[in-house]
């Protein structure tokens, strides 16, 4: 070994020697980016109160994560950005007129009870934002179900004014209270809810009893774009779909859960609609209204709390669809997306146990 003295030493490690420059933090950053369209729509429809709720809820979540991760996990876990995602998603599930202490209570339950007590990120069985939301919904139902009316500005300067303090029911709330007739007859509630569709409606006045998709076109357009009452993030299907496509493109979500969830909703609502279209709303209404789109694209695709294998994801999505529609059609709540996802979260370990990829070559 004559050369021993001039040997240059290098790091020794096992392969692979390169890794993808993607971390938990960059995934969370991408989810935040994906939520920007929905945030923008919530601002356009509900103005400054919307941004106030989003900012304050996120701030609460970050502060609570900072304090309690030190207390519970003995380390600071703010930097993985998951608390910001939880904060925004929780705000997306709130009306724009909630008081600050509602946001604080929701943030506490989301971060501490929903996540940190289980051991932090990756260990939580339930979607933290939904834990926060459901605690608020069952504890303060009145505050959580009073939604400001949508107030899309007529011109640019309107955007910076505060909206009228008028409240309105959500499309699903109208449906639950009065059936499809309520939607059809454009009752005062519904009128507020679908602020600008009146003109389109009156043309089809002649045939009110018949519930057909073509005549409801303005209603669907409003639901699609977000011009309706509801929680901040759930109103615009379009904004959510744009965000969902971004996450899909980035490889953070797969089509399995959103597709199976929405398909199940369509199939079940379709069966009832075909059976009695005067009593039940049509499938398009069901997927565009309420929290289904937000749930299917952002909540039910949460990595930690949903199954890993493709087959498990499909079971998860079908389960979410079944529970959502059961609550919507037969429950006392107008909407069941949050409950359905939480219930399926609870079943995830069980699904994971049986739904595994098929062994290669067998």
């Amino acid at each position: 070994m004559s050369e021993t003295n001039k040997i240059e030493m290098f790091e020794v490690s096992a392969s692979p020697h390169i890794i993808k420059t993607e971390t938990v933090r960059t995934i969370m950053r991408d989810v935040i980016i994906a939520l920007i369209p929905a945030i923008a729509v919530s601002f356009a429809v509900f103005r400054w109160p919307a941004l106030y709720v989003i900012a304050l809820t996120t701030l609460f979540c970050v502060l609570i994560e900072f304090v309690f991760s030190k207390l519970i996990l003995k380390k600071n876990t703010v930097s993985d950005l998951s608390c910001i995602v939880t904060g925004i998603l929780l705000a997306m599930n709130l009306p724009s007129n909630v008081p600050w202490w509602i946001m604080l209570a929701g943030s506490f339950f989301a971060i501490v009870i929903g996540k940190l007590v289980f051991g932090g990120i990756g260990q939580n069985p339930f979607n933290p934002a939904l834990v926060g939301r459901v605690v608020l919904l069952v504890s303060w139902p009145a505050l959580m179900t009073t939604w400001p009316a949508p107030d899309v500005p007529k011109n640019f300067s309107d955007l910076f004014k505060n909206p009228d303090a008028v409240t309105a029911a959500t499309p699903l709330g109208v449906l639950k209270a009065g059936g499809t007739k309520a939607l059809d007859e454009n009752r005062p509630d519904a009128e507020k809810t679908f602020a600008s569709l009146k003109a389109g409606y009156e043309k089809s006045d002649s045939d009110k009893n018949e519930y057909s998709i073509s005549k409801k076109a303005p209603l669907y357009l409003n639901l699609f774009l977000g011009n309706c009452g509801g929680s901040l993030g759930e109103i615009s299907a379009l904004a959510l779909i744009i965000g969902g496509i971004y996450l899909f493109y980035k490889g953070h979500i797969t089509f399995h859960i959103p597709a199976s969830y929405l398909t199940t909703v369509i199939v079940i609502s379709g069966i009832f609609w075909i059976a009695d279209s005067a009593k039940y709303a049509d499938p398009l209404f069901h997927i565009l209204s309420g929290g289904v789109m937000l749930g299917a694209l952002f909540m039910a695709t949460d990595m930690t709390t949903t199954p890993i294998a493709a087959s498990g994801m499909i079971i998860f999505g079908i389960g979410c669809g079944l529970i959502t529609m059961t609550i919507r059609l037969f429950g006392s709540y107008p909407e069941g997306a949050s409950f359905s996802i939480l219930i399926m979260n609870a079943l995830t370990p069980l699904i994971d146990r049986y739904a595994k990829p098929k062994r290669y070559g067998v």
Binding site: M9, F10, H17, T23, G122, R359
Partner: protein
């Protein structure tokens, strides 16, 4: 385009060296020819210190069936036989040669033999004598691969021109510079493999090589494959081209296929047509740590330090932190650059701090990217958890032994879990456990 299910998309970084035509590494004075250059038993040295050796002469003999001959890459004298740094096993016995620089050290090619007159056994004998092993990196003796038991009917031979490891371009250069020789090699293989179909799998980032084979319209049928790692793995390549899945613990021949690296095919051609033993090979010298990346025809036994010097040395711009044999996904890290080129050395990579980053593990967020990336349909995240709990039985149930150790899981993991690194260790434990606790199933 065909492909397999799963896999990942690392940056291929081939442009560093893909434009560099194969050039000859100048002969140097000292070579270290390892006796362990193949899978199986080390070869037995036929020389002792002080002996004169001739270029191409046999200096170590295969020890048993799964072993390979080793020939002298130069004319010169044996300085010693000693334990020498080895790029895969740390240290191994090697014959240290002193080149006689006054002599011609280039292999003199005779007129090509008319191999169409050789029968299968004659061809096989030439391949065995030449000491050819799988040059993709696995270094399994080629003759063993080409001699399946008679009950296994081989209907397809796949030439592996995939080179799915980032950075490596040695097979690519061979395919575009020696297209005709590879086709002749395919005809030779066809003679001994009972007229099997012969395919060459090429990934989409080497489309010019694919077009070249296509325009020749020969018995060597090119298949263009989607760019994806680890497509060059035997099971995945057979799956991609033939759509056949090799069952657990079975071999390619069980589904009627044999896979062979493009470099190996070239060596087979040279051995049969020119009686040339395997004394040199094309090595990609690349990575941001190398001043001038090159594809070099190196004599086996050349020391890496000489090769790196020939490529302008290490780059001054950024420090080389890791020196690798083979690609960055499955290559072996070296602690020193005084290791010799061995038959399985497809690349010498000098990776800098920007390329080979080390990141601490974070908690698993169950994102499932490892599951979707695993070409063997395993659940690496579940394996990782079971390994953290040392749960051998669960690991067995999760089929840890199916793992082909491609490293896709560790590459893609956003929590930077060192999954494959742990799997290598636990596979051995699980196999021992299974021997004791599981009957012959």
């Amino acid at each position: 385009m065909k492909t397999f299910k799963g896999g990942i998309h690392p940056e291929d970084n081939k442009s560093l060296s893909s434009g560099a035509a194969v050039s000859k590494m100048p002969v140097v004075e000292k070579l270290a020819v390892s006796l362990s250059q193949h899978l199986g038993k080390p070869a037995v040295s036929l020389v002792k210190s002080g002996d004169r050796v001739e270029l191409g002469g046999l200096i170590a003999k295969a020890d048993g069936y799964v072993s390979a001959n080793i020939h002298s890459p130069v004319s010169g004298t044996v300085e010693s036989i000693e334990n020498y740094p080895h790029p895969v096993s740390g240290y191994a016995q090697a014959i240290i040669l002193k080149t006689d620089l006054s002599k011609n050290q280039d292999f003199v090619y005779p007129a090509p033999a008319d191999w169409t007159k050789f029968n299968a056994d004659e061809i096989k004998k030439k391949i065995a004598d030449a000491g050819i092993v799988g040059l993709g990196g696995a270094t399994f003796p080629t003759i063993v691969k080409l001699s399946p038991p008679p009950e296994k009917k081989i209907d397809s031979v796949i030439i592996n021109g995939v080179e799915c490891e980032p950075y490596l371009t040695s097979d690519y250069r061979l395919m575009i510079e020696h297209t005709d020789e590879l086709i002749a090699g395919a005809e030779i293989i066809r003679r001994i493999m009972n007229s099997a179909d012969i395919y060459i799998g090429i990934e989409a980032n080497k489309k010019d090589a694919y077009e070249k084979f296509k325009s020749k319209n020969s018995i060597l049928k090119p298949e263009l494959l989607k760019l994806k790692y680890p497509q060059g793995a035997e099971k995945q390549l057979i799956d991609a081209i033939l759509g056949r899945k090799i069952p657990p613990a079975k071999l390619p021949m069980d589904v009627g296929a044999v896979v062979m690296n493009a470099g190996t095919l070239f060596a087979v051609y040279e051995a049969v047509a020119y009686n040339k033993p395997l004394i040199d090979r094309v090595v990609t010298v690349s990575g941001l740590g190398i001043q001038t990346p090159k594809n070099l025809l190196c004599k086996i036994g050349t020391l890496w330090s000489d090769i790196i010097k020939h490529c302008g040395g290490f780059s001054n711009n950024s420090k080389t932190v890791r020196l690798l044999l083979g690609g960055p996904m499955m290559g072996f890290a070296q602690f020193t650059d005084s290791v010799p080129v061995i038959k399985g050395c497809s690349g010498i990579l000098a990776l800098t701090e920007e390329e080979a980053v080390y990141v601490e593990e974070q908690p698993c967020i169950r994102c499932g990217k490892c599951v979707r990336g695993c070409p063997m349909k395993l659940m690496p995240c579940e394996l990782n958890r079971a390994m953290d709990y040392n749960d051998i039985e669960t690991l067995y149930k999760l089929n840890i032994t199916d793992c082909i150790e491609c490293g896709s899981c560790a590459y893609i993991c956003p929590a930077n879990k060192k999954i494959i690194q742990k799997i290598r260790k636990y596979k051995i434990k699980v196999m021992e456990w299974a021997k004791k606790n599981v009957g012959n199933k």
